[in-house]
Each structure stands twice: as C-alpha cells, then as structure tokens.
Symmetry: C2
C-alpha cells in the first residue's frame, strides 16, 4: 500500500512530519510513504539515508493555516496538500495524511479526492475523549455546517463501518446528539433523523445528551457539524478552565504545593484524559479514498500513529465497505 | 407589585417554596405574594401566621415533572402553574415564578400568558457560570428548538435590555455562539443572524466560541435553543465528570486525603463556580408579563432570590421596554 504525507502541513512541518514518517517507514517496510513537499526542505531531514519505502514528490507551494480554504485549494494546485490529494484521486496512493489547514483539507477531500458515489456529504470523524479512555467516534465534527436528516443517516452508516472494522467493535452503539433522551426531543433535523436512524441497519440506541458523553453513553455519536463543533469546544473550554483553576489553586502556597506533589500523577492522568489533541488523527469519511487529518500541533509520534491508523483503515477496506453499503442503498 | 408563586412546582414543593416566599414577604413588605396551590397542603406551612402581604389562591391540580408539556397545559387548566399564568395574563399579577416542569412553564408562557406584540418567539435566558463569577446571560437556552435569524435578533435586543436594566450593565457586549470567531463562519442560521445583529442597535462584538465563555468573552450570548442546550449540557457534563474524577483521586489513600484537606476550600469554590443550579432563576423574555423559571431543585433561598430578581425586573420595567423597542421596530 502507498500513503501520501503532506510534509509541509502543521506547526512542526516539515521537521517532525518527516521524522514521524521515517519512523513509520522503518517499522512498516511493506508500506510505501510518499513525502509530498519542498525537496530542498525535506532532503536535509533525510540525512542521506532515504529508506527504500520512502519516495519524495516535490511541490513548491504550501497552503498556510489561515488561508481561506476554498480559495487556497483552487489557486494552489501545486501545493503539498492538493498534490497529495491528487495522488489519492488518481489511485497512486491509498490514503493521504495532513496536519495542515483543516478547512483546506476538507476542501481538498471534497474537490480533489472527490466523494464516493451516493455520499452526499463527507464527515470528519475524530474521537472524543471519555473517562474510561476508550473514546467516542463522533461525526460530523465540522466538515458540513448544515446537515439534512439523510446526511446524518449516512454518517451513522459510515461511522458504524469504521468503528467495527478499524476499532474492532462488535455492533457499536450509535447515539444521536440531542437535548434530551426521549424520542420526540430536539429540533426538526434530529426529529427527522431519529426516524431514519431507527430504521437503518445499525445499532441505534436513540438520543444521547452531551453531558453523558464522557461516561461513553454511546460508541458513535451522530450530529450535524455545527452542533458537534459547539459541543466539542464547550467540553474543551470547560476542561481547560478547570485545569487552569486547579493549577493556580495548587500553586498558591507551600501547603498547596505539597498537595500538588501528592496529586501530580493523578492530575497528569486527568490532563491527558481531557487533552483533545491526544486522541489521534481523524478520518474524513465518504471520500473516494482515505483522507486523514492530524492535529496542527502533531509531533513525530502523532504522525506515526496516524500512519498506523491509515494502514489499518486501508487493510480493513473501509472505503470499499462504505461504497458497497451506500451504493446498495441508493 | 404582585407576584404569583407556583407553590406546587419543584422537587421541594410546597414546603421550601412556601418557606422561601414567606422569607421574601417578611423582607419586602411592599410586595404582595400570591401562593397558588393546594390550600390543604399550604395552610399548615403557614403555621397560622399568614403575613398581610401573602394571599392564597387555591388550585387542585398539579403538572408533574414528566408530563408532556403542551398536553398538560391544555388539559390541566386548574393546575397551580396554569392558574399562576392566568393571573399574569389578566394583570392580577406582574410576574409568576415556578420551579415546576420547564417545558410546561414555557408552554404556559406561550399559551396562557401570551407573547408581546411583535415578538415571534420568547426566549429562556439563564445565566451561564464564568470563572470570574459574573456570568453570561444566554438566550435562548431551550424555549425554541428551531430558530430563524430574526428570532436571534429579537433575543439580542431583549437580552441587551435585561442585562442593562436588571444587571446594571452599561452597553453589554453581545456575542453570537459560533464555530469560529471569523465573520463568515457558521451555518446558514448564524451567517444570516450575523448580518442582522451587526446592524442592530446593540453592542454586537461578533462571533464567540463555546470554549471562551467561561472567561466571559461576552456579556450576552445569542444562540438557537438547540445549540445552546447542547453547549450547556456539554459544559455541565465535563465539569461533573472532572469533579467526580477529582473526588475519587483525592479519596484514594491517606496522603491524597491529606492533600484533599488542604485543597478543600478551593475545591468547594470550584464546585460552586461550576454548579449550574447555583446561578439563580431564568426569565422567559418576550411575554406579556414576567415568567421566571427556577431550577427544579430550588430550596427556600433559591425561591427568595427568584422573588428578588422578579422585583428588580418588574421595577426596571423590562417587559414594557421590550414592548416599546420591538414595537418601534416592527
């Protein structure tokens, strides 16, 4: 299999992106990695020791983190991100991985890689942290701001396939993000989606509330991109504010500093649990090939684990399964 | 002024509701309180000492916490909640306060008390906690699940009047809940609402993200009821899970228990900061009279402080100001 890496995207590009790719290349010699980016910047990082399963695809443009996504993708056809997308579209690569501009990556998925037949909207599917560290696969978390009930149905089918094939879940529980657990709760979108999900060939457990997610009240959370993003940022913000409060409280005087020393391992565990960056890369599902989004701050380890995840997803034939399931329905 | 109290609504009704009302009656002798509820249940609570400014309005039905709101309000016309609403509609009371079924109270507001001319949707406007303990007035937090841009505009105008007149803010900052702070972010609703808010006679500061709310990035948060409810429950759930984790961690062994003893005052402060029940009653704005919702678990102090808040709101002529402002625009 072959995986294209956008070597120029992310806060630590190309240094740590290339380093992560080299570590992955050493571990998985059956996988060919294509480093897409500026030759002059990447070659020195290889230190004259390019592994046999690493190739370089030179590009001379980069999409910056603050560029307007659609404009950037349309204009910078020679950028590392767009070229990596072209490799996937033309079947020269089975997947692409990028830690670059999220909006531009979603646009690359949609306009360059392209949707699978029958998929109306691709979905971004990251893991939400849970207290038991298993996590909830949530989709869509921001690829599409306005969703229709049929989109939510497709998210549920794609999420069920991914969670089963990649994470090894047996009959994963699908929950619909809503304002209450009762059946008739919600807005027009969730009420209509409820009926569709209820009849779909998935393990739909009904509505779930945002407050129960950290206790993993479902394995797959279905939501529109707007509500999902609001939920995620509310969780992030609350966790962040509480950790800041605790840090200040523990730093106050000698006694509290002693208490902090006692509690440090637990606090580290908590911080790690709630760190939304720790939870790996997120696939963009519903495309004609695999696109994986890494967090902008990804280091070598994050890149390597994204490559691991892409390998599993490719081997499990997730894209092919989604195509078969959705085509079979349309 | 006269305030109707739904004596039968809430987890601690009628006991603590009546107790709170009696305490308020003693403190504010210029305010007449009408206890609406079952005479046989309320009279023993008065212990033969009914203050001159307390009257009793007998009802023999109660809307339960799990009843379907619209059905309950339509069928139980003799319930304490609906009768309290009728007192407001017929101008026998300036306000009503209830700790009962939230959905039924919103329905009572809409169907019994009635909307102000020109108001398309009333809004529930509770305070969200902030780390500085000042709070953010958020509307709508669940009165209407599907909002139009024009509704969000009316929420912003009503919220600005309330925050200015009741909380004494000078030119309060209005933020629009969104997935990013840039102007063109969001779904169709927020994009259209942005333009309306930008032209309104309010202090609109643009889009705000859920993660910055605890740092009080605005004084008034505008959102549709669905997204607002998701946000609130995500914050509540995250705070709750973190507090549970800390409680367990501090209880683990002798050393951690000592650390807990040192940190206890701080942890209590944090718990109080994040307790969404602590932040008082919420007005339902846009109605033809004041309706105040107390939390279901309200105790006597909560009821008394709701009465205080109602007094301020009545004196500040919030309903009249909203009527004047909205009529002036329509």
């Amino acid at each position: 299999m072959r995986i294209a890496i956008d070597a120029m995207g992310g806060d630590h590009a190309p240094g740590l992106i290339v380093q992560g790719a080299l570590e992955a290349a050493a571990e998985w010699t059956d996988t060919e990695l294509v480093l897409v980016g500026d030759k002059a910047a990447i070659e020195p990082l290889l230190k004259g020791q390019k592994p046999a399963n690493v190739t370089l695809c030179h590009t001379d443009e980069v999409i910056g983190p603050d560029e307007e996504p659609v404009k950037a993708v349309r204009r910078k056809k020679g950028s590392s991100m767009v070229v990596a997308g072209q490799l996937v579209r033309e079947k020269h690569a089975d997947a692409m991985i990028s830690a670059g501009n999220t909006g531009a990556l979603m646009t690359t998925g949609l306009l360059v890689v392209g949707r699978l037949d029958g998929i109306e909207r691709p979905a971004l599917a990251p893991m939400l942290p849970t207290m038991d560290d298993i996590g909830v696969l949530a989709l869509d978390l921001g690829a599409n701001m306005d969703a229709k009930p049929e989109h939510l149905l497709q998210y549920a089918i794609m999420g069920s396939i991914y969670r089963t094939k990649v994470h090894g879940f047996d009959n994963p529980r699908v929950g619909l993000l809503n304002v209450g657990t009762e059946e008739r709760k919600g807005n027009e979108l969730t009420k209509a989606a409820y009926d569709l999900l209820d009849q779909a060939p998935i393990n739909f457990i009904g509505n779930v509330e945002a407050r129960d997610l950290l206790s993993r009240s479902c394995d797959i959370l279905i939501c529109d991109g707007f509500a999902g993003n609001i939920m995620l940022k509310a969780m992030e913000g609350t966790a962040g504010s509480l950790m800041t409060f605790l840090k200040d409280a523990f730093g106050e005087n000698l006694l509290t500093k002693l208490a902090a020393a006692v509690m440090m391992p637990k606090l580290r565990t908590l911080k790690k649990k709630m760190d939304y960056k720790e939870h790996g890369s997120a696939p963009l599902l519903g495309l004609n090939g695999l696109v994986m989004k890494c967090h902008g701050s990804s280091d070598a380890l994050a890149v390597k684990s994204a490559i691991r995840q892409a390998r599993i997803t490719i081997k499990a034939q997730v894209t092919e399964s989604i195509a078969a399931e959705i085509s079979g329905r349309s």
